[in-house]
Amino acid sequence: MDAITADAAIDPKLSEALKRWNDYASESAQNVQVLFEAITPVKDTLQIAQQITDSLQRTHWTPTGTNWVNPSALFTAYQELAEIQLAALEKESDCYIRFLTTTLGTGKQITEAMQGASSPQQFLASYLDASLNIVQQYQDDASKQASTLSQIQSAYSAWLQKTLESLSAKTSPEDATAP
C-alpha cells in the first residue's frame, strides 16, 4: 500500500502559537547577546580599582588614621546595616512568593487553556500558548530576582564604604570631649 501524502492544513491557532514561540526564541537570543555584552569583568575591576584609589586620595584615608572605636558612627552603621538586612529579607521573600505563585498557577493555566479545544491541533496550540505564558512568567520572576540580588549587593557595598568613611572622619572637639 502506498502512503498517500497530501498537504495537511495547519490550524490558524497552531500557526499563531508556533509564531509566538519563534518570536520568543528570537527575543531570547537578543537578550542573551545583551547579557554577554554587559559582562565586562576586566573593565569593571579596573573601574572599581580606579574609583577606590580616587576616593582614598580625596578623603586622605589611612588605616592608621581611622578611629575604629567611634561610638556614634558605629551605632549609625549597625542601624543602617539592620535596615539593609530587613529590606533584603523582604525583597527575597517577595521573590519567593512570586515564584511560588507562578508555580501554583501553572496547572490551572494549562487546564483552562485546553478547554474549548476541538481538534488535536487546537489542543496543541492551546498547550503551546499556555506553556509560553508560563515560561515568560518564570522569566519575569527570574529577572526580578536578578535585579533584587543586584540591589542587595549594591547596598552592602555602599554600606561598607559609607561605614569606613564615617569611621575615618575626623572627630570634632565636642565629640572628643563628650563623656
Binding site: E37, Q51, S55, K91, S154, A158, K162
Partner: protein, 311 residues
C-alpha cells in the same frame, strides 16, 4: 542627562527641569560598585535611603571638576531656577533618589526659594500631560507619558522663566527634522541620525529667542515612540506662545557597542565602551559635546535653559 548638560555648561544655562532624575554624577556615588551597578540600583531604586545617592561625595566631586575647568563654575547656578518632580507611585526612579537631586542643588548653592520640588502627585514614572489620550496618571507604562491633569512642560518653563503666556492653540511652523549626525564626532554615542527642533515663525524671522533643550527619557526617543515625545507633550505650544526654540536631541536603543538596550541618555558611561574611567559628565563628554554644538548652531539668543523629562 538634564543635570549633566546643565551643570557642565552652566555658563549658558538659566535653569533646568528634572523629572524623575537622580543627582549629577549619581553613578559615581559608591566606589565599590561599578558605574552601571550604581546607575541601575543606587540611582534608581536603592534598597534603603542610606545606600541611595551619595550626595556629599557627589558635591565634592562636582566642586573638583569645576575647579579644574572640566565643567562650568558652580557660581553660575546660584541665580538659576530649577524644577524637580517625583511621582509618588514611581518605583522606577524612586522619590528617595530624587530627594537627593534636590539636596545636590541646594548643596552647591542654589537657594531653596529658587527650586520648585513637587512630589505631591500620585504619578508613575512618566512625563505629565493634560491629555486623556495618555496613560493613566499612576501607572508606569510605555510610552511613559501620563495624564495627571496638568501640562508639565508649561509648569517647567514657568518655573524657569516666570510669567509666561499660556500655551498657543496653533503652531506657526512645522517641526524641523534635521541631520543630528553632523554634530556627532564620536562612534559610540547611541545618538540617532535625526533629531528635531521647533522654531516659531517669530524666531525664524530674526527675533533672538531662548533655546530650551528637551531630553526624552529611556525608551522615549523617536526611534521607539515616533513623534509622541517631541510633538505631543506641550513644549511646542509653549514655544509658540512665548517665542522659544525647542531642541529635541535623540538617542536610540543599541544592543552592542555601545550597550544601551533601553535607548537611554548616557548617565553611566556607555558612550566610552572599554574605558574603565569614561567621561560622560564633563563639557568634553561625547553626547554633551554633540548637544552643545546643536545649541551653538541654533544660538543667537541671549540665554538657554535645559529640561529633562526622565532618565
Amino acid at each position: 542627562m538634564t543635570s549633566q548638560l546643565y551643570v557642565a555648561f552652566s555658563d549658558i544655562m538659566v535653569g533646568a527641569g528634572i523629572v524623575a532624575g537622580g543627582p549629577y554624577l549619581c553613578a559615581k556615588s559608591w566606589s565599590d560598585n561599578t558605574l552601571m551597578e550604581n546607575a541601575t540600583t543606587t540611582c534608581m531604586d536603592p534598597l534603603t535611603p542610606s545606600v541611595g545617592p551619595n550626595t556629599p561625595s557627589l558635591v565634592r566631586q562636582t566642586s573638583s571638576l569645576a575647579s579644574s575647568g572640566k565643567i562650568g563654575t558652580l557660581d553660575n547656578l546660584k541665580n538659576d531656577r530649577i524644577y524637580i518632580f517625583s511621582g509618588q507611585n514611581d518605583d522606577t526612579v524612586t522619590t528617595t533618589v530624587v530627594d537627593q537631586t534636590y539636596k545636590f542643588f541646594t548643596s552647591v548653592g542654589v537657594p531653596e526659594s529658587s527650586i520648585k520640588y513637587d512630589k505631591s502627585v500620585d504619578a508613575g514614572h512618566a512625563l505629565i500631560t493634560n491629555s486623556n489620550t495618555d496613560t493613566s496618571c499612576s501607572l508606569t507604562k510605555a510610552p511613559y507619558i501620563n495624564d495627571c491633569n496638568f501640562e508639565q512642560s508649561a509648569v517647567i518653563l514657568n518655573q524657569i522663566y516666570s510669567d509666561l503666556k499660556p500655551a498657543a492653540d496653533q503652531l506657526s511652523s512645522p517641526i524641523i527634522a534635521f541631520d543630528q549626525s553632523e554634530f556627532i564626532d564620536s562612534d559610540n554615542t547611541s545618538m540617532s541620525d535625526t533629531a528635531y527642533a521647533y522654531v516659531p515663525a517669530a524666531c525664524q524671522n530674526g527675533k533672538s529667542c531662548p533655546i530650551h533643550v528637551v531630553f526624552h527619557g529611556c525608551k522615549q526617543g523617536a526611534a521607539v515612540i515616533g513623534d509622541k515625545y517631541y510633538a505631543q507633550t506641550g513644549y511646542n505650544q509653549m514655544a509658540e506662545a512665548n517665542d522659544f526654540i525647542m531642541l529635541y536631541p535623540q538617542v536610540q536603543p543599541s544592543n552592542a557597542s555601545p550597550l544601551n538596550p533601553e535607548g537611554c541618555w548616557d548617565f553611566w558611561g556607555y558612550s566610552s565602551p572599554g574605558d574603565p574611567d569614561p567621561d560622560y559628565f564633563t563639557n568634553n563628554a561625547p553626547q554633551l559635546r554633540a548637544v552643545h554644538k546643536m545649541i551653538s548652531r541654533l544660538a543667537g539668543p541671549r540665554s538657554a535653559s535645559a529640561s529633562l523629562t526622565k532618565e
